[in-house]
């Protein structure tokens, strides 16, 4: 490589020259230092190039240390900590036994083979399946990846449980709380979410289910694809279960009180906003506001007011702190708040 004809722009583009300027590579440093000593006439160009390269730098746009640690915890729980599932699955290999049988007792091979193939299906059934439970306490959200590649965004105070591995002809999970599902299409294995009396079934779509035990309703909102919702506690006269098919932008609301399911449109901002860190209120009562805030931030709030708050609380809060939300709503909703010494919050 002949550097004798190097102009400024050549220095600028040379990768090894970059490394020397950055002081990142011992060999490059040695090379350029000595080359420049031998070619003093190039010093000017090289210096200029150095200045240009040195001046180009980047702001740091990574995450906070806390976020980096939290992200690792999530990765760990989805990968390393699920190691047991792999090792417990029994891989059935008849060939190992076949080799032994052939070598030692050839005339029994046929009988042995017959036995193994008869026993094989049973052995598979004895494969250990783990019950996996992923739950979030108040104030925490996380994403869970299932073995078929489906993604479940779990909201605060929510729990999802399933057997691993999935059945051969269906994928079943149980949900308590709220989650947004993005299900990998598999037309041979429908994906079923069980929430109390309601069963939601899809082949491969994305949808949101809200089924907190302390609310009287279960809501299933569809973002893409088709979703079938069935009330397993309701038998039609012909003893079949009643099921409803939902299309995108439709939502089914099941009421535990009436055991009825109704279908309506839904405001995607209101229903799906929680996933990207947005807390959304639309004319909410004080009770709902407090309950949602408690869940989101994992705090306890006590309300001690003589006057009830008549105005509904409306607002969109994206990635804001608890203080910011309280400060933002107290003026319009006319309340005061106080952080107590025992960690709880008082609203008066």
């Amino acid at each position: 490589m002949n550097f004798d004809n190097y102009k400024l722009s050549d220095f600028l583009m040379d990768e090894s020259f970059h490394k020397w300027v950055e002081n990142s590579n011992r060999e490059d440093e040695k090379f350029w230092a000595s080359w420049l000593a031998d070619h003093p006439e190039k010093k000017n160009d090289a210096d200029q190039a150095k200045k240009v390269l040195r001046s180009l730098s980047f702001k740091d746009k990574a995450f906070s240390k806390k976020e980096i640690t939290e992200l690792w915890d999530k990765i760990k729980s989805e990968s390393i900590l699920e190691k047991e599932a792999d090792t417990k699955t029994v891989k059935f290999r008849p060939w190992k036994y076949l080799k032994v049988a052939v070598v030692i007792i050839p005339f029994i091979v046929a009988a042995v083979l017959f036995l193994f193939f008869r026993v094989a299906p049973k052995k598979k059934q004895v494969v250990e399946r783990l019950l996996i439970e992923k739950s979030n306490p108040k104030g925490e959200k996380r994403t869970v990846f299932l073995s078929d590649g489906s993604k479940v965004k779990l909201n605060a105070e929510s729990k999802i449980s399933y057997l691993h591995p999935f059945d051969k002809n269906q994928r079943v999970v149980q949900l308590e709380g709220e989650a947004f599902f993005e299900i990998t299409p598999d037309k041979d294995r429908p994906f079923i979410v069980k929430t109390g009396n309601l069963e939601t079934k899809v082949l491969g779509t994305s949808f949101n289910i809200k089924a907190y035990p302390d609310e009287g309703n279960i809501m299933v909102a569809v973002k893409t694809g088709l979703v079938s919702v069935e009330n397993t506690n309701y038998k039609l006269p012909n003893k079949q279960n009643k099921s409803i098919v939902l299309s995108p932008m439709e939502m089914a609301t099941y009421s535990e009180e009436t055991n009825q399911t109704t279908v309506s449109d839904y405001d995607s901002l209101k229903v799906l906003a929680w996933q990207d860190g947005t807390l959304y209120f639309d004319n909410a009562t004080m009770e709902k506001f407090v309950k949602d805030v408690e869940k989101w931030y994992g705090v306890d709030i006590i309300i001690k007011r003589k006057k009830p708050i008549l105005k509904g609380i409306t607002g969109t809060f994206k990635n804001q702190s608890l203080e910011e939300i309280l400060m933002g709503t107290k003026e319009t909703s006319e309340f005061e708040y106080e952080f107590l010494s025992n960690g709880k919050i008082l609203i008066k």
């Binding site: 600028l12 001046s55 980047f58 390393i80």
Partner: protein, 202 residues
């Protein structure tokens, strides 16, 4: 942590151990590369949650698929390529559906011409520096991305071309043009300072 043994290890060694199922090696891979991945992702998309998801998705997939992976000399290049693919898939998917995802259609270079160094060593005024920053900002998203991959991530032109799916010559040209702009503007600045110095002897 359990990965003290990997502090000074070479990429190929850490990678091999990780493929064998060593969890400390896996963690070391994360520790060593999370910063560059986060910086890359946050420049491609303004949606932090999506970026985190893409990182999580990729690492979980890596672990589950480790048995099928080949060896490598540059983990950084491997991760950047896989991460870019994963994140772009998510960005495209989000754009299709009417989602509340904050996606930039540009690449946020976040260049920051090193103020202290420039001002002291090169005697460039603050205002000129800001001008240069604006120039860099006005580059096309792809140009900014190549600059980022070359100078922040330290990928060579072959790696950049494989990551972005462009010809090596194109990557080279984009970096060249960007640096030319920088150099021209700086030379401009140098000469004007020179004139000033000549006209007003200290």
């Amino acid at each position: 942590m359990g990965f003290v043994e990997f502090y000074n290890a070479k990429d190929s060694h850490i990678w091999d151990k990780f493929r064998e199922g060593n969890t400390s090696a896996f963690e070391m891979i994360y520790e060593r590369h999370i910063k560059v991945l986060a910086n890359y992702g946050n420049r491609m998309s303004g949606d932090a949650e999506m970026v985190k998801d893409a990182i999580q998705d990729m690492f979980v997939g890596l672990w589950r698929n480790r048995i099928n992976l080949g060896s490598t000399d540059s983990i950084k290049f491997y991760l950047i390529k896989a991460f870019r693919r994963n994140l772009i898939k998510k960005i495209v998917a989000a754009k299709k559906s009417d989602a509340h995802v904050d996606v930039h259609s540009t690449f946020d270079g976040s260049f920051e011409l090193a103020h202290d160094i420039s001002i002291i060593q090169m005697e460039i005024e603050e205002s000129k520096l800001n001008e240069l920053n604006t120039q860099l900002d006005n580059l096309s998203p792809r140009q900014k991305e190549t600059l980022f991959l070359r100078f922040y991530s330290g990928l060579n032109y072959t790696e950049i071309s494989k990551t972005m799916g462009i010809r090596q010559q194109s990557a080279y040209n984009m970096v060249f043009r960007a640096l030319e702009i920088l150099r021209e503007r700086m030379a401009h600045t140098f000469s004007s300072i020179l004139i000033l110095l000549i006209s007003f002897p200290a």
